[in-house]
């Protein structure tokens, strides 16, 4: 069974291709990319034609930072619903964070996640294992076992590793298994019981604050430890101007550090919290306009390699409460694409750069041979309409949860057809016309 994606604007950031091209898919693989009409005979009756006029055709997006909540908190999200949300957002791969219940610190949990993902048979799910046993920050988890079971990285996401010696050992030991260490960079003493960014807005609202320095000092520590050990460090959800500058400096020194930013951190500022909307309560917090500018600059100059969602589903039980008591996190898989496209409209990123931060760059960070439109590779391909306007309606989301502050926003750009291994995992062809 062959498919021909015809007439679309093909963007392949890894090769720099940005032109009208056709893509031929045979079985689960890409078999050819070429000028329109050059790939296959249209008289071939077994060929399925996918018309892509007016659409962008890109490698399927790869999210480095997703919380699928299974096992343990299936009332918020499970691997099936999270996979549906991902596919609807144009993603073909997601990395799921280990702060499940139980924590993903053993092969048993990793295998459960991979089995559920195979049953869902939608996006690829790449589990991230814990840095420390039970994410307690005391003892290293068993990286050999985790790696053999299928994890692509280790992280104690949600809980910063406060013990510097443990972080050093993680960066050393993970090298044996070629695993990047993903740092949730936050000094927990400085963050204390804060609920929002420290600045003029927290002063106005009387909400307890998390200073940018809580992130900066840990980014410095972890970069320093990466330099010491030669380990591979990835900074999750960069939110502060200081962190951007530190990553830039350590990269310039040749330290093996990469970084990601979330759509909410490059779109929103703390001024929005005047509404006390608990969907804006995230960790790290949404920061000031200075920080926003620095993150955009970091995306533009390549300091920040990837765009990741930190999709963090919570139910009304966690969110329909007083701001102080609400859980941290917002969902993001189904809004990441249009928010990223805004960066193109605003001149922050070129089209290829923007797509690279959702495709080949994250693939390189976790070391998987995906995120490129190359013959022979799996046919993970996303087609989206960059001009489709829509009003965000959380009630239309595939995610089980509704905790998005973008509800009611008018955005532009929607996935139309998403293929993984050549198989359609999301289609919105009717509504897009």
């Amino acid at each position: 069974m062959s498919k021909l994606i015809r007439g679309g604007r093909v963007l392949d950031p890894a090769s720099g291709l940005d032109d009208l091209h056709d893509i031929l898919i045979e079985g689960s693989k890409i078999s050819g990319i070429g000028l329109p009409g050059s790939l296959a005979s249209e008289s071939d009756a077994s060929l399925e034609i996918i018309e892509a006029d007016g659409l962008w055709v890109v490698p399927g997006f790869i999210d480095l930072h997703t919380h699928l909540r299974e096992p343990g908190e299936e009332y918020k999200e499970d691997i099936l619903t999270g996979s549906r949300a991902a596919a609807a957002g144009g993603f073909t791969s997601v990395c799921c964070m280990p702060n499940t219940k139980p924590v993903n610190d053993t092969s048993a949990v990793t295998e459960l996640i991979l089995r559920r993902a195979a049953e869902a048979d939608l996006v690829r799910v790449f589990p991230v294992g814990a840095i420390s046993q039970q994410q307690k920050g005391e003892l290293l988890a068993e990286y050999a076992e985790l790696k053999e079971a299928g994890v692509v990285a280790v992280s104690d996401d949600g809980l910063a590793v406060m013990n510097s010696q443990l972080m050093r050992r993680a960066l050393e030991y993970a090298q044996v298994f070629d695993l990047p260490v993903i740092s949730h960079a936050e000094d927990r003493y400085l963050a204390a019981d804060g609920v929002m960014h420290e600045g003029a807005v927290s002063t106005r609202l009387g909400l307890r604050e998390i200073p940018g320095a809580a992130e900066d000092v840990m980014v410095f520590r972890d970069c320093s430890l990466a330099e010491l050990t030669g380990g591979r460090l990835h900074i999750a959800h960069v939110s502060s101007a200081g962190a951007v500058e530190l990553v830039r400096q350590f990269k310039a020194r040749g330290v093996r550090v990469t970084a990601e930013a979330t759509p909410h951190h490059f779109t929103l500022t703390d001024e929005a919290l005047e509404s006390f909307d608990t969907n804006l309560k995230v960790n790290p917090p949404i920061r000031s306009s200075n920080d926003l500018t620095a993150i955009r600059q970091g995306l533009a100059d390549g300091t920040i390699d990837a765009i990741a969602t930190d999709h963090a589903p919570h139910s009304t039980i966690e969110k329909d409460v007083e701001f102080d008591y609400a859980a941290f996190g917002m969902i993001g898989l189904e809004t990441a694409l249009p928010l990223t496209l805004q960066l193109i409209d605003q001149g922050v990123l070129g089209p290829l750069e923007a797509m690279g931060k959702l495709t080949c760059n994250p693939a390189n960070i976790i070391g998987v041979d995906l995120g490129r439109l190359t013959p022979g590779l799996p046919a993970d391909v996303t087609l989206f309409d960059p001009n489709q306007d829509f009003i965000v309606d959380v009630n239309q989301f595939r995610s089980k949860s509704r905790n998005s502050p973008f509800h009611g926003w008018k955005l532009r750009g929607k996935a139309v057809l998403v293929l993984r291994d050549g198989k359609v995992i999301f289609s919105d062809r009717n509504s897009s016309g």
């Binding site: 002063t203 106005r204 009387g206 909400l207 007083e322």
Partner: protein
């Protein structure tokens, strides 16, 4: 002028004319509290619920007296004796209260923004009686009334707020209120208790009380919460009292007609010495007295007045 807001959530949302209206109305209600029979029928048949998630003596009693002097029916719900201790959420509590059709809910809560959340879930008017470190609007209004009574005007006065600004909803509401009414606001306190970018709220920031006391027409001392000692914010109450507390020696640098205010409850010998608290410049009990008039005025303006459409 009519008061058109459904709720009183904070001073921040009020226009100067609205503040003026509340103070004028409060002035007219003061007389009722001096009568032998301190009751008028203005709010007869109206229901006021006092929902207190934090302990309070002064504020709650003041609200209750205000409502009763206007003949409203009042009900008290406190966190320790209600379904709140059984784990009911604020939203559920709000829905249940709304089902009983109260006219006003007065909310005291330890979380900033809780009254704003409540107001979205009930038709009743919500009065914020203190939300976390955010706002305490009725305290600021009674402070304004006290300053106006004693000084004749608020505009042009220099007001020094001294103490733990960071954790104080009283300070925040007063900064909004005094700025809106044209006063100059100075603050002083230990750097650990001065929040980030405070100057952006329109105040001049100092550390030592000596730097603001000589300039002030009004000095507001803030309560220091005793548990701050354990939070690395100050080394000891002893040192705090010596450097940041108001005593007669520091007061000797003040203007001869200075007013000393304190929102209470007082830690005698910590932020204010007994001699100053009970001394001739202190208007602390006038503040308490004005609290009743201000709260009567608010209840009247929110649910008692004729709203012209």
């Amino acid at each position: 002028m009519q008061f058109r807001k459904k709720d009183l959530l904070g001073i921040k949302q009020l226009e100067p004319e609205e503040i003026e209206l509340i103070l004028e109305t409060a002035e007219t209600f003061k007389e009722i509290s001096t009568r032998p029979i301190k009751k008028v029928p203005t709010l007869r048949g109206r229901t006021v619920v006092h929902l207190f998630y934090e302990p309070s003596t002064r504020t709650r009693t003041s609200f209750e007296i205000a409502a009763k002097r206007l003949s409203a029916d009042t009900f008290n719900i406190s966190a320790s004796t209600s379904s709140i201790v059984k784990g009911e959420t604020l939203v559920d509590t709000a829905k249940n209260l709304q089902a009983m059709n109260p006219d006003v809910i007065v909310l005291r809560h330890s979380a900033a923004g809780a009254p704003h959340m409540l107001a979205k879930h009930v038709q009743a008017s919500v009065i914020n009686a203190g939300d976390g470190m955010h706002e305490h609007p009725t305290q600021a209004l009674l402070d304004l009334l006290t300053i106006r009574d004693k000084k004749g005007t608020i505009s042009g006065q220099t007001v020094a707020i001294i103490g733990d600004i960071a954790h104080s909803r009283v300070a925040r509401s007063n900064i909004w209120a005094l700025n809106k009414m044209g006063a100059r606001v100075l603050v002083a306190g230990p750097t650990t208790m001065i929040p980030h970018d405070l100057d952006k709220l329109g105040v001049e920031v100092f550390y030592r009380p000596e730097d603001v006391i000589p300039k002030a027409d009004v000095i507001m001392m803030l309560r220091i919460q005793l548990e701050r000692q354990g939070q690395m914010l100050l080394p000891s109450l002893r040192e705090y009292a010596r450097v940041f507390g108001l005593n007669e020696e520091k007061l000797s640098q003040a203007k001869p007609d200075v007013l000393i205010m304190h929102p209470g409850p007082i830690n005698r010998g910590v932020e204010i010495s007994p001699a100053v608290a009970d001394g001739p410049y202190s208007v602390i009990l006038d503040q308490v007295n004005n609290g009743v008039a201000v709260r009567m005025a608010l209840l009247y303006l929110l649910i008692g007045g004729e709203k012209d459409e």
